[in-house]
């Protein structure tokens, strides 16, 4: 088994016992990127030289006998909307093509404090808007299970890189499913943490009240280990929760007996592909056989989550993306006659069509005379949906649904049909609307041999419960399949 094929858990042990060095591991992953990224195109920036220097520094520390954090020396890839000091952070947009942040996001500071090796920056839909990574200004990323298919999105680069073994773990961001849906498409594990558990400082905002950074990995425990280091109160982010976190990774036992799993009937309707339903229910039955208690539940307002999501997220996006005006940084149009002309040309030329669509939608729903009809209604619906979840979690520990209604689509298949594209998120957006944690994990293949994702949703700050159930499933099935690349 190659180093790059191993999980962070395995590598952590090998590094600690000095069986391998971080330099060897990092070099192996960089070589892997060199050999397969021409096909996958997950990376926008590969930070090879600095990564190797970092690896060397970690090795030196270890040789000198220093006690190192568990993930020390393990290479990680970062979605390109998370600010990295001195490394381009483009959001896969022409607008920020040459933008280099002068500061690190809080999660990057934590990654560095834990001596993880920063491999590079990963492709995404422009400003995290999209479900296929086809909205990247730079290039399309390919699904490692079928190079003609999309990896999903918007964290398509992060999910594809982990799936293609071009990174041991990765960070993505999730506003409406952007970690979970590509993780499902690429056959990896992705966690969208509870809103407020991971600092958003340094994450280029799409929809501030929904955005959350989270980990993607090959195994549940890898994801738990990364989550354990990135979570925590940050005084730089007023919305980060004030609470203590106990490590999740060490609490995973694989025992699922007595865990109550709710199956919301609204998530298994016509919109969901039959193969997906079957794979998800098979996984639920596996857990039931292992001692979980399964019952049907109802989340009646779920169908309103998608419209509410597109109103709230677009409204916030229209305001968050207003700062890209050509005045201080980023792209500025070449020829313009005056200030307004400069604004209009800069933004017309600098943003792609999906981003512009969302800005227009968001501007509209916040406009005087429409605010009450759209934004206000959406916020009311948000409260109702959150209330239904709260009620459900009085009955069950974990809610199981498909992550996405269908597996990965062909590249180009939905690019001209935004509504079809938005439908990819119907199973995931409610979780962001309610601020809850959810994990997507592989639960088998569909008829075309593409991975299906099982989504486990938990109550606020109950990452331990969903990851516990996910870990139990992973143990039951003996791990997840890698793509043949």
């Amino acid at each position: 088994m190659e180093f790059y094929e191993m999980t962070a858990v395995q590598l952590s042990r090998k590094l600690e016992s000095k069986e391998i060095s971080s330099c060897e591991l990092t070099q192996a992953v960089i070589d892997r990127i060199k050999s397969v990224d021409d096909k996958v195109k997950a990376y926008l920036t590969v930070n090879a030289e600095e990564a190797l220097e970092q690896a060397k520094a970690v090795d030196n520390k270890r040789i000198s006998g220093e006690k190192l954090p568990k993930l020390a020396g393990i290479p990680i890839g970062i979605k390109d909307n998370i600010s990295t000091k001195g490394i381009k952070t483009t959001c896969a947009s022409k607008m920020l093509e040459d933008y280099v942040p002068p500061f690190d996001a809080t999660v990057i500071e934590k990654i560095k404090a834990n001596d993880m090796v920063l491999l590079g920056k990963l492709n995404m839909d422009e400003f995290a808007m999209g479900s296929s990574t086809e909205n990247s200004y730079f290039n399309v990323t390919h699904n490692p299970f079928d190079l003609d298919k999309v990896p999903g999105g918007s964290s398509g680069g992060s999910a594809a890189a982990v799936s293609a073994r071009e990174a041991i773990v990765a960070l993505g961001s999730d506003t409406g499913g952007s970690i979970r849906q590509p993780s499902a498409n690429c056959g990896v594990v992705g966690l969208k943490p509870t809103y407020g558990s991971v600092s958003r400082y340094g994450l280029v905002a799409f929809a501030s009240s929904l955005d959350q950074i989270g980990p993607i990995g090959k195994s549940v425990k890898d994801v738990a280990m990364v989550q354990d280091i990135i979570c925590g109160r940050d005084k730089m982010d007023a919305t980060s929760a004030i609470r203590e976190y106990t490590g999740i990774a060490d609490s995973l036992t694989g025992d699922v007996s007595g865990v109550k799993i709710g199956i919301p009937k609204e998530y298994f309707g016509e919109a969901i592909d039959d193969d997906v339903k079957t794979a998800v229910m098979n996984a639920v039955h596996e857990l039931e056989k292992a001692g979980a208690k399964v019952c049907e539940i109802s989340l009646p307002s779920a169908k309103y989550a998608l419209p509410a999501y597109y109103i709230i997220s677009s409204a916030e996006a229209s305001s968050n993306l207003a700062r890209f005006d050509g005045v201080r940084y980023g792209y500025r149009a070449k020829d313009y006659t005056d200030l307004v002309d400069m604004y209009e040309k800069t933004r017309s030329e600098g943003f792609g069509s999906e981003v512009k669509r969302r800005i227009m939608l968001g501007t509209f729903v916040l406009s005087s005379g429409y605010y009450d009809a759209y934004y206000k209604q959406a916020k009311l619906m948000q409260r109702k949906i959150a209330g239904e979840y709260k009620a459900a979690f009085n009955e069950v520990d974990v809610i199981a649904t498909p992550t996405a209604p269908f597996t990965a689509c062909k590249i180009g298949q939905n690019i001209d049909d935004p509504l079809k594209m938005y439908a990819c998120d119907i199973c995931t957006v409610t979780v962001n609307i309610a601020g809850l944690p959810a994990v997507s994990l592989p639960c088998g293949m569909d008829r075309s041999n593409m991975p299906v994702g099982l989504q486990l949703i938990g109550d606020s700050f109950c990452e331990d419960k969903i990851l516990g159930a996910a870990y139990a499933y992973e143990k039951l099935v003996g791990g997840f399949a890698a793509p043949a690349l």
Partner: protein
């Protein structure tokens, strides 16, 4: 002004709060420093940055709310006001829309000796924007200084309760004086610490209010007066000519003395306000609100009343002292702790001290004067140890040097002579030397008395007690 008409004025006043740091980042809140030096990724709105609220701003605003008798909304929120301008890096200003921190208050102002109550609609917190520099050396382009981005502001919105430019001016002076009493604003007008937008309408008395215009770019209280007077004349002229007043935003051009239309209601910005998702609801507990209330000092209106009613000062003197927090604190220390005569203390403050401050442009704190020393000096004059004239000589020294007064009196030989025998001897000598004046006094020219006393004072080098001197001369002339 045409007597048939009445002008209706409402003011939106922005005051920069003098907190140590900015409202949403840890940059220093400083004026007059090199451009773009107190800036950071947050106030420059780099992608991914987030605001965190400086709680001192909330405290300061609540204090102003208490001082203006407002209801404090213990739970309120912040909102985004969206618009594009190069001095606004985020392209939205974090402000408060439907739920301000303070609302429904009032303030009493004094105009021509009469008190009038002006309603306060609301006070909310928000951030200031940067400044554009239209440098001629950069042909065709403008530069932006972001130092002011994120400087905390409160916006104080009045009810349309003012009926003259004089009332508007008194209202602004009162706000300024309260802000300095609370020590929450530098109140440096030339630095733009206080700015206002003026809403003006006119209507015939006994008819409903007219259409109002909003005037921006009003940078001083006197400009507010000029702007209001111009705008009321303009509106009356329009109505008299059978035209209507258009609801619009106008810009005051103080140099030309005219207001110019900026945009009409149709072109008004749609700011697309919505709750700021990066910040939590502001929640202030009852205890904090009460603690802040307890910190509110005696305010100018209360001081004026006390000075007039309890200390017997004339209203005009009381007002001048009370509206200047430095003078008022100095006065209170002299009269309360030191026990100096209020009348004398007020005379000194409004006379020699104010004169010195005006001439030098200094503030009281920048002189060597202390309430203790002034009280001591006033005491010597009250007890006739020194004359008022000698007091002025000592004042000229102690205002610039920290020297003990007692020693100055001794060194300069200023101690007043109050010894009867000594004064009588002096009188005898002066009367003998001025026979003609004595004669003319006895012939009924009573003003000769003043001359004779003056000669005695001169002969004593100013040290004779003038009151005693006069009495002795009178006695001797009557003999």
């Amino acid at each position: 002004m045409n007597d048939e008409y009445e002008v209706v004025i409402g003011l939106e006043t922005h005051a920069e709060l003098s907190t140590e740091s900015k409202i949403y980042c840890s940059c220093k809140n400083k004026f007059g420093i090199e451009v773009n030096t107190e800036v950071c990724p947050i106030c420059m709105a780099l992608p991914g940055t987030l605001p965190t609220l400086n709680e001192r701003v909330v405290d300061y605003a609540i204090k102003m709310g208490h001082a203006l008798n407002c209801k404090i909304n213990r739970v309120c929120k912040q909102d985004r006001k969206n618009y594009f301008y190069p001095d606004l890096p985020k392209a939205y200003q974090i402000s408060q829309s439907d739920i301000p921190l303070c609302e429904n208050g009032y303030v009493d102002i004094l105009v021509n000796g009469e008190s009038k109550r002006i309603g306060i609609t609301r006070i909310h917190i928000e951030e200031d924007a940067g400044k554009l520099l239209h440098a001629t050396s950069f042909e065709g382009s403008s530069l932006v200084d972001l130092n002011r981005c994120g400087v905390p502001l409160i916006e104080i919105v009045s009810e349309p309760d003012m009926r003259s430019s004089a009332e508007a001016k008194a209202y602004l002076e009162t706000l300024k004086s309260i802000l300095s009493y609370l020590d929450i604003c530098d109140c440096k007008m030339q630095e733009g610490s206080i700015r206002c937008d003026v809403n003006v309408s006119v209507h015939k008395k006994g008819t409903p209010f007219g259409t109002r215009t909003e005037m921006k770019n009003v940078n001083s209280f006197s400009a507010a007066v000029r702007g209001i007077e111009y705008e009321q004349k303009r509106q009356i002229a329009a109505l008299e000519a059978g035209e209507t007043v258009v609801q619009e935003t106008r810009r005051w051009d103080d140099a030309q003395g005219v207001s110019v239309s900026m945009r009409t209601k149709e072109d008004a910005h749609d700011y697309r306000y919505f709750p700021e998702p990066d910040l939590l609801t502001i929640s202030v507990d009852e205890k904090r609100v009460e603690e802040l209330k307890a910190q509110i000092p005696e305010l100018p209106t209360q001081k004026i009343l006390r000075y007039v009613q309890k200390l017997g000062l004339p209203q005009q003197d009381a007002t001048i002292i009370a509206e200047n927090v430095d003078l008022a604190n100095f006065f209170d220390e002299c009269t309360q702790k030191g026990g100096a005569s209020p009348k004398l203390a007020a005379n000194w403050l409004l006379g020699d001290i104010s004169k010195y401050l005006n001439e030098t442009g200094k503030t009281l704190g920048e002189t060597k004067l202390t309430p203790e020393k002034m009280t001591e000096l006033i005491g010597y004059i009250e007890k006739n140890t020194i004359s008022t004239a000698s007091g002025k000589k000592i004042f000229e020294i102690i205002v610039v040097e920290d020297k003990p007064i007692k020693q100055l009196i001794d060194d300069m030989g200023l101690a007043q002579v109050s010894d009867t025998l000594e004064l009588e001897a002096l009188a005898d000598k002066v009367l003998a030397e001025n026979e003609p004046s004595v004669t003319s006094y006895k012939n009924g020219k009573t003003n000769a008395l003043g001359y004779l006393v003056g000669q005695c004072m001169k002969a004593s080098k100013g040290k004779a007690n003038p009151g005693m001197m006069k009495e002795i001369i009178l006695k001797k002339l009557g003999e």
